[in-house]
Structures are given as C-alpha cells and as structure tokens.
C-alpha cells in the first residue's frame, strides 16, 4: 500500500491489489452472464436473451459451466475478504440507522472499517447463496448429474430435482437483488468504482466512508506520503 501525494491531486489510498481486482472482475462477468442466461429460462418473455449466447441449446450448455467458473472465482473472493467482513459491534448501529445511511449522513454513523454493515450483508448474502445456487444447479444439470452419479453414486429423485428448480430460481432472484444493491451502491457512492478499476480510492473517500480503515492504514504507515 502506498500513497501518492502530489500537490493539487488528492491523496490516494490503495484498496485492492491487482489479483483481487482480476478475481473480482472474473466473478462479475460470470455473474452477469449467469443472470442473463438464467433469466432467459426464467420467463418466456426473456427467452430472447438466449440469442446473446448463440441460441437456447448453446446457452443451456454454457450456463452451468459459467456457474462452475463463478463458484471457483467467488471462493477466491471469499478467502480474500472474509476476515474483513466478520461482524463487529458497530455493524448493528449502522444497520439500524437506515435514515442516516440512505441520506448519506455518515457523520451520524459509527466510523467504519474496510467494510460497512451493508457491504458485509452483500458479502455474506452471496457467500450463502452461491453455494446454494451451485448445489441446486447441479441438481438441474443433466451432464453434471451424470458425473455425480458416476463418481458419487448419487442420483436425485424427481422430487429432489423439482426442489432444486424452485430453490435455484428463488436463490437466483435473491442474488440478482443483492447484485443490484451492490452495483447501485457503487454508483451512488461516488468515487467507489476506482477501487475496482485502479485499485485506489481518494483519501477523502476513505475518510468519509471508511474512516476507521483509513486510520488503520495511516497508523500502519501504509498511507502517508510517498511511503
């Protein structure tokens, strides 16, 4: 972590390594492809989305494999970020101060570490739902089931497959909602997106939204000038 301070330009704070950013974008691209292809089969009016994947048959083949990529990629994100997402006492205060959060009055909220309680909710929501999507998805995946049957000797009953379909759909909707929250927050809170594009945020951004984290970075001499 370094700071770059040149006269006039704001202080910059490193937030994500290159590897973390690549990991994030592989997950992000897979997720978008998954919801596009998943929604195509979810409602007939969206079936036209299959054209983006070269038609229904190609999409049916591709979707589970993208799911495998996402699962592995998300595991990477999970291992990278879960310690920073462990709950803290102040999270509760943050979560219950809906008005201050939504109006952007962060001066009325406790100082936040690397992640606020909303970000933690997104993280843990995905951490729970992605394994659910993976398991229920395998239950709907013909080729996957053939493999599971051959290796583990497990063959789900038709009722289990029906549950898989329903759970996959419900969990899919929830992940899309979480994704909307995630993307919206990144847009609404200006200055956030550079964290995932350049790996850096401005000092002011860190001061405003993640002051405890900024203090820690400064204390550890990761932020200063030309450290």
């Amino acid at each position: 972590m370094t700071i770059e301070k040149s006269t006039g330009a704001p202080l910059k704070v490193h937030r994500y390594s290159g590897a973390a950013r690549i990991n994030h974008w592989i997950t992000a691209i897979s997720f978008v492809l998954l919801w596009l292809s998943g929604l195509a089969l979810f409602h007939p009016s969206l079936y036209g989305l299959t054209a983006l994947f070269g038609g229904g048959e190609m999409m049916r083949w591709l979707h589970p494999w993208i799911g495998v990529v996402l699962s592995i990629s998300f595991l990477g994100l999970f291992l990278r970020f879960f310690t920073a997402n462990l709950p803290e006492r102040t999270d509760w205060k943050w979560l219950t101060s809906v008005r201050a959060v939504l109006s952007g009055h962060e001066e009325n909220l406790p100082e936040v570490g690397k992640y606020n309680a909303g970000q933690k909710a997104v993280f843990w929501g995905m951490a729970v739902l992605i394994p659910v999507m993976l398991v229920s998805g395998i239950g709907l995946w013909d080729a996957g089931l053939v493999y599971v049957g051959a290796t583990l000797g497990f063959k789900p009953t038709i009722d289990m497959q029906r549950w898989a379909a329903l759970v996959h759909a419900a969990a899919g909707i929830l992940t899309i909602v979480i994704w909307i929250v995630h993307v919206y927050a990144a847009i609404w809170v200006r200055g956030t997106i550079s964290a995932m594009t350049e790996g850096k945020v401005t000092g002011g951004w860190a001061w405003r939204h993640h002051r405890k984290w900024l203090r820690k970075e400064v204390a550890e001499h990761k932020v200063g000038s030309n450290a």
Binding site: L11, L102, L140, L166, I173, V181, R190, G203, W207
Partner: protein, 301 residues
C-alpha cells in the same frame, strides 16, 4: 377409423400470449386394456419400427421388462408386475404398457422454458418439437408420470408422440395397429370411454368388482387411458400414480415465482432509481479530502 380433422396447436410451451383459438377438434384417446394384455411386446416393436428408433442392446438381469426403463430411444415399455391377490390367492400377472399419457393438463408443457418445444394439439395429443427443444430437462421435472427422457447424444427430450404423424393422416398409432389382442384401441375419447365401459362391465361380471377406467382427474384426464382390473389400486401396476397431478413445486416454480421474481427485480431497480433521484449522489467533499490529508500528515521524505 375415419380420418380425424387436421389438428391445430391449442397450447404452446413458454408462450405468454394466448394461442389462437381454433376451437377444439375431436379429442382422441388410446385405451390400453391391461386385462387383455399378454405382454408380447408387439407394441414396443411396432413403436421402435415406426419411429425408427435404435434402442441399445441391453442386458438380461432376469426380469421380463426389456429394456429396463423408458429411454430416449424407447418410448413405450411393458412393465411386468406379479401380485398375489389376497382375496383368492391367485397370482396375477399385471402388465402395463408404460409411456406418455398425453395429459389434458400437461406438466411437461407447463415446465418447459423453450417457446414451442412442447405443444398440445386440439385433438389432445401432447407433442415435443425437436427443433425448439434445448435439452434442459425441465419437462422431466414437470411430468407427473416420469416419462420424458433426455438423450445424452442429441441433448433433446423424447417421448411417445401418440403417433401424431400417423393420426394426422387417419392412421391409428403403431402400437395399437400391432396389438394382437385388441388390448390397445384408438379412437375418439368419447368412443374410448364408451368402449371402456363395456370392458369394465365384462370384468365386473368375471369377479373383478373393482375394475375401472384410469383417466385421472388430477391432470384433467389423459388421452391415454387404462382399463384396470384393480382400478382402486393403480400402484399395483408397476407403480402407476394413484392421484397424478402437476407437482405443487412445479406449480409454484412456473406460476407465482415467475411473476414474483420479476416483480422483485423490477422493484429493486426502481427503488435504486428513486433513491438516486431523491437523495442525489453521495459525493466526497473537499473537506473530506482535506481531513484525509491532515490525517495522513504532510509529505515525508
């Protein structure tokens, strides 16, 4: 039989708009009389021949069922069950020709996400349209009778067509044509119900007082019906469903979940847009930047 009127599609899978209403043509049905079946498998052979199927050579494991299950290359199967009737000690050989029942309310069609991959004709036949099928297997989950099979080579779903191609030109299905004992008959649904009544009466006069017609109301009736000697216990016939209906899980998945799911997504997007309009962007102020600089301290050397 006389040629039936050419049939139109009355239901089409994954299609939101209502189908044009051509009016119902005469409904057809196949009646399978389990009490007349001798288990010769002529129907299976005729099905394979007419549909030009190439079932794999199987393995004899000491049962009569051959092959062991329906496959993408085997649309119909004689299932053999032995049952000792406790009322009279007789060993009864209950043979059932399994295959698509052509439900009036087809679960496969309800579950199918690919527009037009499954259709129901105005004569009641439920047919898979291979060119629209994407091989997802949702029909397997929708079916209350466990009939459709997905080919691992073609990646498409297959099942009995009720020889819709033959029926369209006034022919009866290949299995019915081949049956040497008239256990399989085909005609209008009304004719087949009338025929079954005669058969049931005959069976009752011979001591099968629970004989009856299997035309399950849970799927609004079927276009393949059975005459059973023990109509009160369809399970005896190799597990024929007692009260088949589209699974409530499938009803929820393909009913309320579809609309609720899209509504939840739409509302989330709308909530975001509305919030941004009302609250405006959450921007970092110059004071924030100054505070950060102050915290970080002056330039070091």
């Amino acid at each position: 039989m006389a040629p039936l009127p050419a049939f139109d599609v009355i239901r089409r899978s994954a299609t939101s708009m209502p189908a044009p209403t051509p009016g119902r043509s005469v409904e057809v049905a196949k009646l399978i009389d389990a009490s007349r079946c001798i288990g010769c498998k002529a129907c299976q052979s005729a099905c394979i021949e007419w549909n030009d199927l190439k079932p794999e050579i199987g393995e004899n494991v000491g049962v009569y069922d051959n092959p062991h299950d329906l496959t993408p290359n085997n649309f119909t199967l004689m299932r053999f069950a032995e049952w000792e009737n406790p009322a009279n000690g007789n060993l009864e050989w209950l043979i059932r020709k399994d295959g698509c029942m052509h439900c009036e309310d087809p679960g496969c069609l309800k579950a199918c996400p690919a527009p037009g991959a499954i259709v129901q004709y105005s004569n009641g036949i439920v047919d898979f349209q291979k060119e629209n099928c994407i091989g997802c297997g949702y029909c397997v989950k929708g079916c209350p009778f466990n009939i459709p099979r997905i080919s691992q080579t073609e990646h498409k779903a297959f099942k009995c067509t009720l020889c819709s191609d033959r029926v369209a030109v006034g022919q009866i299905p290949a299995c019915a044509k081949a049956c040497p004992t008239n256990a399989i008959t085909f005609g209008t649904k009304a004719e087949m119900i009338a025929h079954s009544e005669k058969r049931v009466k005959d069976l009752k006069s011979r001591g099968f007082d629970k004989a009856g017609l299997y035309n399950p109301p849970g799927v609004s009736g079927t276009h393949v019906m059975y005459v059973l000697h023990h109509a009160d216990r369809p399970q005896l016939y190799a597990g024929l469903a007692e009260n088949p209906r589209i699974s409530p899980l499938v009803e929820v998945w393909k009913g309320v979940a579809k609309y609720a799911g899209l509504a939840v997504i739409g509302l989330s997007v709308a909530a975001g847009a509305l919030h941004h309009m009302l609250a405006g962007a959450n921007r970092v102020s110059p004071e924030d930047e100054a505070n950060a600089e102050k915290l970080a301290g002056g330039p070091k050397t």
